[in-house]
């Protein structure tokens, strides 16, 4: 029932093969599938509608690269757009202020605020060597203060005691004062869970914010939230000048469409993911991964992970920079990329991780041929002079013959490689924003074409 998007699209794709451009007609069915996938993932309906409209506009007229189907090309557009909407990669906490930097937590009941305070405390202490004080302004929930105290002990950070007889504002101000006098770098202020429609409680946290003037105001949301996430997020965003979002319970199997809803409504960066109950369960937020997850493309996720493992970090960075600058992608890079693929265990292993249908649709090749092909391509490039690799347009008929001889292949193969390279160059431009995952997918779509 919960078909992932790629499976859904694989069905539609079949009917789309062989068309050169994305048109209103050939993507209509696919877009309907995208809409359903997003709704199944709990993206709020108004957000889904806007998203689909945006994707449609982006996709129309898009050229479909030779060996991709329009469906695959559309997945590319959808995934890219979703990643873009999820925001830039990790934005850490902003602590650039006269210490102590005050961080205020806000959110619905049971979202994970208190736990997240503990996680952030541990992270700030251990990774950034900060002196951290935590304080609970939750005078309502039974044993909430005790919970934070225990969590603070686990995190190894300072705990500022409070009682349910006090007012949240007085507690927080006293804590900040204490922190100032004891040279704390950061004060994390936990608050009670509240409903957006609870006017009194919303007024309370607004006043608390006013009194504290925190540098960070984090909205903590449960990744499992449904359609109402838009209403809640809007209300919190209107009451408080939020600076960021923490998405919790991502260790579950919810598709997490709420992430998109919240991001869309607040426009604020999702700064961290909660991935466990333990205090070590905090991670930087990965927009690309979240996009894959919402689309139900878990396999792509592990592919990306794998890709990252295999890639030499520095080289990847340099490469990414090159791509971003939009110039200078030459045959050296092409070879480099292929080498990286080899490191990752070759195409065969990569293809295994692709969502089944896409792999099938894209790679109608006998098993094992891809790896041979990679070696052949490498051989051809190795036969070129450095000048030829840097400026492929130098390679005319006579040079082609020499290269073919050197690599022990037919001239046609050299031609094919050069064509593929040109296509890749084009694709690079298109995929520049999409990051590694998309790159890999693009390449995978490209390589089987070598056989044709």
């Amino acid at each position: 029932m919960l078909d992932n998007l790629t499976q859904r699209l694989a069905k539609v794709m079949k009917t789309l093969r062989g068309e050169a451009r994305l048109t209103e007609e050939n993507i209509a069915d696919a877009l309907r599938e995208v809409r359903m996938a997003l709704l199944e993932a709990d993206v709020a309906l108004p957000v889904v509608k806007e998203f689909i409209a945006a994707v449609k506009e982006k996709a129309l007229g898009e050229e479909v690269i030779a060996s991709l189907t329009p469906g695959q090309a559309l997945v590319g557009v959808v995934h890219g757009e979703l990643t873009r909407l999820m925001g830039a990669a990790h934005e850490g906490l902003n602590l650039a202020t006269q210490p102590p930097a005050v961080v205020l937590m806000a959110g619905l009941q049971g979202a994970g605020k208190t736990t997240t305070v503990g996680k952030l405390g541990k992270y700030l202490k251990e990774n950034l060597k900060k002196k951290v004080l935590v304080v609970s302004c939750d005078v309502y929930r039974p044993a909430a203060i005790q919970q934070l105290q225990t969590v603070a002990e686990q995190a190894g950070v300072e705990f500022f005691p409070s009682t349910t007889a006090e007012k949240p504002e007085a507690i927080a101000l006293a804590a900040v004062d204490w922190a100032r006098r004891h040279y704390c770098d950061v004060v994390l202020v936990d608050t009670a869970g509240r409903l957006a429609v609870d006017a009194a409680m919303m007024a309370e946290i607004k006043a608390l914010h006013g009194a504290l003037n925190p540098i960070e105001t984090l909205f903590v949301v449960d990744a499992m939230l449904g359609q109402d996430a838009v209403n809640t997020a809007r209300a919190f965003n209107e009451t408080l000048p939020l600076t960021g979002v923490v998405l919790t319970k991502l260790d579950g199997d919810a598709r997490g469409g709420a992430a998109l809803s919240v991001r869309h409504v607040t426009g604020k960066p999702i700064k961290f993911s909660g991935v466990g109950e333990k205090l070590s369960g905090l991670e930087a937020f990965h927009p690309e991964r979240m996009a894959s997850r919402i689309l139900g493309m878990g396999d792509v996720l592990s592919l990306i992970e794998e890709a990252k493992k295999g890639l030499d970090e520095e080289k990847a960075m340099a490469f990414a920079k090159k791509l971003k600058s939009g110039k200078g992608f030459d045959l050296n890079d092409f070879k480099e990329q292929i080498g990286q693929m080899r490191k990752m265990g070759g195409m065969a292993a990569l293809m295994d991780k692709m969502p089944a249908q896409i792999a099938q649709a894209a790679g109608q090749l006998p098993a094992g041929t891809e790896d041979k092909m990679i070696r052949r391509v490498e051989g051809i490039i190795n036969s070129m002079t450095p000048a030829e690799r840097a400026k492929p347009e130098l390679i005319k008929a006579s040079r082609k013959r020499r290269i073919a001889m050197g690599a022990g292949v037919q001239v046609q193969e050299v031609n094919r490689l050069l064509n593929q390279f040109e296509q890749t160059q084009k694709m690079m431009k298109q995929f520049t924003k999409g990051g590694i995952g998309k790159l890999m997918r693009g390449m995978k779509g490209m390589l089987p074409g070598m056989g044709r």
Binding site: E40, Q109, G110, P142, V197, Q227, G252, D253
Partner: protein
């Protein structure tokens, strides 16, 4: 029903969140319907009085169907159940020649009520002593709070109650339950750290010794992806059975109404490991409508025993399908 709708419709266009109007009335005298509808009226206001536009159109067309579809989808009813309900509606509209938007909407709410009616099965704790109720659910769903409310509910029916602090993992989970024990003036059986199954076993033995009517066993929140924790809770269930062969008499899964389609997966996963016999749907005092129970009714029906409508000790009500449906269409 339409009189009611009109009245609420009028409220819906007034500015959102009129705090004076809500705080004047003493909290506890508000019926859950009023609480439910209070929250919902505010959503409607935010949405610009959705149903008003449905009614003002005055004719039945695709747009009306789309608006009703939107209403269901934005209530977390989910794609499959929404499609099912709209199909049922279309069939009925044809058969009964429904011609006004009001008739169409009423037919839809009826279809939803019919879908949910089988889930309306109140919980009776007669027939076993002690009647052992195990409470489970994902993190932060409202398990411990619901136990606090249930203790009051059963006591008000003249039953004696004992609580078991089976969450030995989360920080201050035990202290939280202790507070609920104090509020209800009932015993809480707890251990320092230790094994959840052992705590629950102790509690059942104590309840037997003291002729207690109802045992409410809290458990730690867990996500179904944490397989070892799903195994752990299955063990708690087995140990309960060892303490009393007929127990547990009820296995309640607590669902947060704010949660979307994942609630379905939760019901399936917990059912698989501990055989769920009833649901509690919490946090309905917010703007979330908990429509996912329609999907649950379609795919893995379980009786909904109670709904939670606030953080207070009295904010628990038996589930009434018709009221729930009215709240969605309010």
């Amino acid at each position: 029903m339409f009189g009611f709708l009109k009245k609420k419709g009028g409220e819906a266009v007034s500015p959102p969140a009129d705090p004076a109007a809500t705080t004047e009335t003493p909290e506890q005298s508000l019926s859950w319907r009023e609480r439910l509808f209070g929250g919902l009226a505010r959503t409607r206001a935010q949405l610009g009085g959705k149903l008003k536009t449905i009614f003002s159109r005055g004719k039945v067309d695709d747009e009306l169907l789309e608006e009703l579809e939107t209403l269901l989808l934005t209530s977390d009813v989910g794609l499959e159940a929404t499609q099912h309900l709209l199909d049922a509606l279309k069939a009925r509209a044809k058969k009964d020649k429904l011609e006004t938007p009001e008739a169409i909407q009423e037919a839809l709410s009826q279809a939803l009520a019919e879908l949910l009616a089988p889930l309306e099965q109140p919980l009776s704790v007669d027939g076993h002593q002690p009647y052992v109720i195990m409470i489970a659910g994902v993190n932060g769903a409202g398990k411990t709070t619901s136990i606090g409310k249930l203790a009051k509910y059963f006591q008000s029916q003249g039953k004696s109650v004992l609580l078991a602090a089976g969450d030995t993992f989360r920080a201050a989970a035990r202290e939280q339950l202790m507070t609920w024990g104090e509020r209800n003036n009932v015993t809480v059986i707890a251990q320092d750290g230790g094994d959840p199954a052992a705590v629950v076993f102790d509690a059942i033995s104590a309840a037997k010794a003291r002729s207690i009517d109802v045992v409410l066993a809290d458990t730690a929140g867990r996500l179904p992806t944490q397989l070892h924790l799903m195994e752990e809770i299955a063990k708690v269930r087995r140990v309960i059975q060892k303490a009393d062969a007929s127990a547990p008499h009820e296995v309640l899964l607590v669902l947060d109404a704010n949660i979307g389609q994942n609630a379905l997966a939760q019901v399936k996963a917990f059912d698989k490991s501990i055989h769920v016999t009833g649901l509690v749907l919490t946090k309905l005092d917010g703007t979330a409508k908990g429509g996912v129970i329609a999907a649950i009714a379609r795919q893995c029906p379980k009786p909904i025993r109670f709904i939670g409508v606030g953080e207070g000790i009295d904010d628990l009500r038996p589930f009434v399908a018709r009221d729930f449906v009215d709240a969605i269409f309010a």
